[in-house]
Amino acid sequence: MDVYVIQQIVNALSAGSLYALMAVGLALIFGILRLINFAHGDVMMVAAYLAAFSLFAGLPLPVALGIMVGGTVLIGLAIERIAYRPIRGGPEVAMLLTSFAVGQILQNGTLLLTRLASQPIQIAFPTPDVLQGVVAIGRVTIPKVNVVGFGSGMVILVGVMLFLTRTRTGLSMHAAADDLPAAQLVGIRINRVVAAAFALSAALASVAGLLYASQAGQINPYLGFTPVLKAFIAAVIGGFGSIPGAVVGAYALGFLEVIPTALGGIADILPVGAVSPEIDDLLRTIFPSALGSYRDAIVFLFLILMLLFRPNGILGGGAREDVP
């Protein structure tokens, strides 16, 4: 019972770190441009491929990680310059659709390149040794990748917070997110700030990509779709555009996701005879063990409820600017 609970908590924390790395990237860009960057998941996917191919080529781990982060940042910058800058300030939906198209380009581009490299669509990810195996604490065993994921996620997020509050560029991003025209008026170079935001968000996505691929064990060009949706939910829970909110929302989502699985298994883990058969039956009816497979549906239902009732996040007020 205790082991079960602890393992679920660790799962929640490690998923939360992954979502936080993604959600902060989304929130950074949304805060400044009001653009929901759906291509963010595909940027993460590209990072996983960069890491995989670097490792396949036999490069040492630090070099491979350098290529992964550097390459992803370059791609993030290119996307901003080519696709998003021309429609900056345009209708929200036009920007959203452009990000979908960018995602399609990244997916199909990866597909094309893996084909040209005569690789199958689904390839096994060469997980680095440091992320393989499990850590055993007493009776609890935790996959190493989850521990590293949680730890590195925390460290990176603290770093990002310091960057955003202590450096000139970080403060410029804050200013731009607060009021773009005013920031421009006081001499902040918007193009540079936006580019910096895209570079930072791509770098965060690359770390998320490595963690995701190491957890999943295999990668394909379409793996970015679900994580970006989850990151979006996390950002909505935290109040969209707020960076600390995105982090809080991501860990909240990590726990939220574990709940259906945990509840689905609750009747199975109770010791036999601990509760009367009636209650046992009741538990199995309310929380069927299949509940876990409906996890994504439940999470998205929660997203819709959030958008309706707390559009400014759990911490924000209930007011919505776009009530018809």
Binding site: A94, T98, A101, Q104, N108, L229, A297, F300, V323, P324
Partner: protein, 355 residues
């Protein structure tokens, strides 16, 4: 609003279209017949999204979910009893007894009924979902409807007893032919056209242009949005039913983001809010996708087509954000060189389009 009165030129056009279909049917060119059916199904999907999003400005990414509901509903309803008990043994009793596989002479009325039921089921779901979601605007509604799409997919994958879960749903009777597909496509175009130039349609466009101005002159926001959403769901489900009985075997993976994006591309290229533009956009993107598919097949560069289509889409958004037609319509009279008597001598006069 007069009663149903078909102008002579519409009649001529319909006859010409029927003649073309009959020729295509007789020609036996299977590839072109398949493409024509695909074209019709896409026209229905694009008109559905046009109403739900183009007319109202409420961007829906969830209508492929209604297509999925339509496809599964009508496929299950038309399964013959013998196949059904064997194929879906755990179907709930009330559903297991229904078999809309009857035909009157050559006419499969069961298929027609199943398609209508599929449309109605989607309408009920859309009514419930829409009543809640239509309160949102901008990209929030887009993401919320995307959430609906994900929910539909998860349910389809997990409701093994009814949908066979992730396994392919096959054994669907191939009822869909050129006539069914194009019959429904013409209905979809007609409905969209009538709605656009009705008072209701103008309310949809008005609240899209300016919510507060529309409110201030007494146009409700929620009602036109909801009606458009539900009507779009109906048409999407019809397209789903046609698709199911055309392709005859499918799985939940089809009804997801790629298809959603394809339909959106067609709509945006044609012009959101234009009924004729939707048809043009569908034709253009379908032709482009087909040509690219051929090129991919010949060069073995799989993925190239997807890249070029997406680049084309971004170029349209940057350089021609309102698409080919914007909200305008093709003036058929002018295209065909027909000019009603009242407009002779006034070549630039705006045609009056009464509902």
């Amino acid at each position: 609003m007069s009663a149903l009165r078909i102008p002579r030129r519409t009649l001529v056009l319909l006859l010409a279209a029927s003649g073309t279909l009959a020729l295509l049917q007789l020609s036996g060119l299977a590839f072109w017949q398949g493409l024509a059916i695909n074209f019709a199904i896409f026209i229905i999907l694009v008109q559905a999204l046009n109403m739900a999003s183009g007319f109202t400005g409420v961007f829906s990414l969830g209508h492929i979910g209604f297509m999925a509901i339509g496809a599964y509903t009508s496929a299950i309803l038309t399964l013959p009893l013998a196949t059904k008990s064997e194929y879906l043994p755990n179907l709930p009793g009330w559903l297991a007894g229904i078999h809309l596989d009857v035909a009157v002479g050559p006419l499969p009325v069961g298929f027609f009924a199943a398609t209508l039921v599929a449309g109605l089921v989607a309408m009920v779901v859309a009514g419930l979902v829409g009543a809640v979601l239509m309160r949102l605007s901008g990209h929030f509604v887009a993401v919320a409807t995307l959430g609906f799409l994900v929910i539909v997919r998860v349910v389809l994958f997990n409701a093994d007893d009814i949908t066979r879960g992730s396994r392919t749903f096959s054994n669907v009777t191939p009822y869909t032919n050129l006539w069914w597909a194009w019959g429904w496509a013409v209905i979809a175009i007609y409905v969209a056209w009538r709605v656009k130039f009705s008072g209701l349609g103008r309310a949809m466009f008005a609240q899209k242009a300016d919510r507060w101005a529309a409110r201030s002159i007494g146009i409700s926001i929620l009602r036109p949005r909801l009606i458009a959403f539900v009507a779009g769901a109906f048409l999407s489900a019809i397209a789903g039913s046609l698709y199911a009985h055309f392709i005859t075997s499918f799985s939940p993976t089809v009804f997801y983001f790629d298809l959603t994006f394809r339909v959106i591309t067609m709509l945006v290229v044609g012009g959101m809010g234009s009924v004729s533009g939707a048809v043009i956009g569908t034709a253009l993107v379908l032709a482009l996708a087909e040509a690219l598919r051929r090129i991919e097949g010949a060069t073995l560069l799989y993925g190239l087509g997807g890249i070029l289509l997406a680049v084309f889409f971004i170029a349209v958004i940057i350089f021609r954000p309102s698409g080919i037609m914007g909200q305008r319509e093709v003036d058929l009279d002018r295209v065909l060189g027909w000019r009603p008597r009242w407009r002779r001598g006034r070549p630039d006069a705006e045609p009056s389009r009464r509902g």
